[in-house]
Amino acid sequence: MSGELPMYPSEKPEHPYVLDSYAGRILNTYSSRFCAGCGYGIIGQIYTRVFEDLKLDPNLHPLVIGIGCYSQILLLVHADAQKVLALHGRAPAVATGMKMANPNMKPIVFSGDGDCLGIGGNHFIHLCRRNLDCVIFIFNNSIYGMTGGQGAPTTLFGAKSSTTPYTMFENRSDGIKLALAAGATHVARTTVAHPRTFMKYFKKALKHKGTSVIEIVTPCVTYFGRKNVDSLGAEYLGLEGKKMDTGGKMVDWIKRNSVRINQAKFMTEEELFNKYIIGEFRYESDKPEYSEEYARIQKIAMGDK
């Protein structure tokens, strides 16, 4: 049946923001490889929109991509962007080397929850500590999607995954709290259900001099939604939830399960359990940035202060 039709559209669709994507130019497919209902398509498009709107120089904004489902975003972003697929969890360290060897650059790091808060946690902490000028995105779908739905450090309490078949019992890792404690100077969390806020934070991060950590909560229907019910995060209400087996249901759940930072101040710990607090947590534009500080050290070392 499907053999008659091409699997992906092979002509560039008419749309102001569909740029000449890498996959389009090389593989002749103008489509994403993500599952139905995945949020990474939204992220890829927002990245492209911001890139186009701000007319960013691709040479100065290399993409450093970790390993996870989101690695496929590199096929969506436009062909001239400079991309490197780093090892699992090591993207912040690669970005550090790039920025320090060429201080004109502002690397943009794509990483996932398992990538950044699991295997690469140490690199992430020290990137924030140095306040190195770069943007780091944490795509939080609270599951290891690429390997088939195993539990992640961010998996919510009580959720089911293929390595936590009897529900998750571990404490959840919070990337935002970690970034705040480590000293990142621009920290925000948003979700794919709030794309305009996401664009706002991204644009602000590009202007910011220092480490910008932006966590984006994104749905994984295939491995998270199908196994879990939408009462997750509202346990205290004692509801009986329904399966989140479509993208729409998951985005609805994400909207319901996220709390604005101003609102969260008036909520109890019990009410905030398993919720995502969204908003801008910190913006400090006057903190010293690592590569600038190093340039100062170089001047001292050269003896011309």
């Binding site: 040479n59 290399p62 450093v64 991309k83 697929l85 360290a93 550090t96 790039m98 050269m302």
Partner: protein, 392 residues
């Protein structure tokens, strides 16, 4: 980045230097611009010296949070066109192999100083032990070739570091300098050549002229000439880059390759077919020698002394020294051991990692005597004893 404020080169002439410092100075002379490291005995003096010297020449020396981060930052720096290096010892090397394998895949050049210490495990931190060679030549998952150089004195630590950077630029593979705890802490006189002489030797990292830029930025087999073409390393932030750096089997344009066999073949054979240019060796009194000593690194110095004593006794013995330990110079060793009465391989390890390779090319029936030693120098008598035994 290319600061030329005169501090890059030391004053020509004789300097008293520690081995680790000589290695660091060699790297600066070769144009080192980024060093990412993590302190580990016995390599610590490298990062200490570079933390002082690199900012003076406009370079960056970073102490990273761990070995994984240091090797990855080195890779990032090399990707954007800075000559980059790291230094560590055995336990650090074990942590770094993941990225070495990836750098070999993406053909990212960098130099790796391995100041070996006694192992396994944490081992004994200030004793020499040439035990990392096995790990170096198979450093990481997958099949690829690396280059490993073994200096034997501080002068060579300086010179061979420059050679190592040139090899990294030319062959685009991880290049190792196999020092050890004694050599790294040895103080010796190093003769620094004049600036012009060094600059003539050094291969610069630069974007090729625009008319020479082709989309093929990774190595490939030129089927007409039947030789491997290794293009200059791409530099991110310029026009000379592939569409993406993808660490899966890829073709010369960096696009996912449906033919992993061809890819692995290229990774291995681009080094193997250039063996005659890569393999540096040295002959010592070999012309009339009946007994051949094959050695590398510090045991070479002991062997030379043992040969002098044995020659006084009238025993015809000579030494063949491997400066490039890996790739192993099969052909040259085969030639040397062809007519030998016996082969002696003194090594600073117990298993005899190079002795195994020598066995591979030695004719059947020729005895191979291993002289193993761990954590201390050989005494010339150890080697002499072996020489006298086979001479009888």
């Amino acid at each position: 980045m290319n600061n030329q404020n005169g501090k890059r080169f030391l004053k020509p002439g004789r300097h008293l230097m520690m081995g680790n410092e000589a290695m660091a100075e060699g790297a600066i002379s070769a144009g080192l611009r980024f060093f990412g490291g993590y302190p580990i005995t016995p390599s610590t003096e490298v990062i200490e010296h570079l933390a002082k010297r690199l900012p003076q020449v406009g370079g960056v020396c970073m102490q990273m949070e761990d070995e994984l981060a240091s090797i990855n930052s080195v890779m990032g720096a090399s990707l954007v066109g800075a000559k980059a290096m790291t230094a560590t010892s055995g336990p650090g090397l074990s942590l770094m192999v993941e990225t070495i394998s990836m750098a070999a895949n993406l053909e990212i050049p960098f130099v790796f100083c391995d100041v070996q210490r006694c192992g396994p495990g944490t081992g004994s931190v200030t004793d020499p032990h040439h035990n990392d060679l096995g790990l170096v030549r198979f450093s990481g998952n997958g099949e690829f070739e690396v280059i490993a150089l073994a200096p034997m004195n501080c002068q060579e630590l300086f010179d061979l570091t420059i050679t190592a950077f040139n090899y990294a630029e030319t062959y685009r593979c991880p290049v190792f300098i196999l020092s050890d705890a004694y050599l790294g802490h040895l103080h010796e006189v190093v003769d620094i050549p004049p600036k012009e002489e060094i600059l003539n030797k050094v291969i610069k990292r630069e974007v090729p002229p625009s008319e020479e830029i082709s989309p093929r930025v990774f190595s490939y087999l030129d089927k007409v000439k039947n030789e491997y073409v290794i293009p200059k390393p791409p530099i991110m932030g310029t026009e000379y880059v592939p569409g993406m750096f993808l660490h899966t089997p890829h073709g010369p344009e960096g696009i996912l390759s449906p033919d992993p066999f061809r890819f692995v073949q290229t990774m291995v054979d681009k080094i193997k077919t250039n063996k005659d240019k890569i393999c540096l060796t040295e002959n010592y009194k070999l012309d009339d020698a009946e007994i051949v000593i094959i050695a590398y690194g510090l045991p070479v110095r002991v062997s030379y002394r043992a040969i002098e004593i044995a020659r006084e006794e009238g025993i015809k013995v000579g030494a063949f020294r491997l400066i490039t330990v890996w790739p192993f110079p099969d052909e040259q060793v085969k030639e040397v051991v062809k007519n030998a009465k016996a082969v002696i391989v003194p090594e600073l390890n117990y298993t005899g990692i190079i002795a195994e390779q020598v066995e591979r090319v030695t004719p059947l029936g020729t005895p191979i005597i291993k002289v193993p030693q761990v954590a201390v120098f050989h005494h010339p008598d150890d080697i002499l004893k072996a020489i006298r035994e086979v001479a009888q």
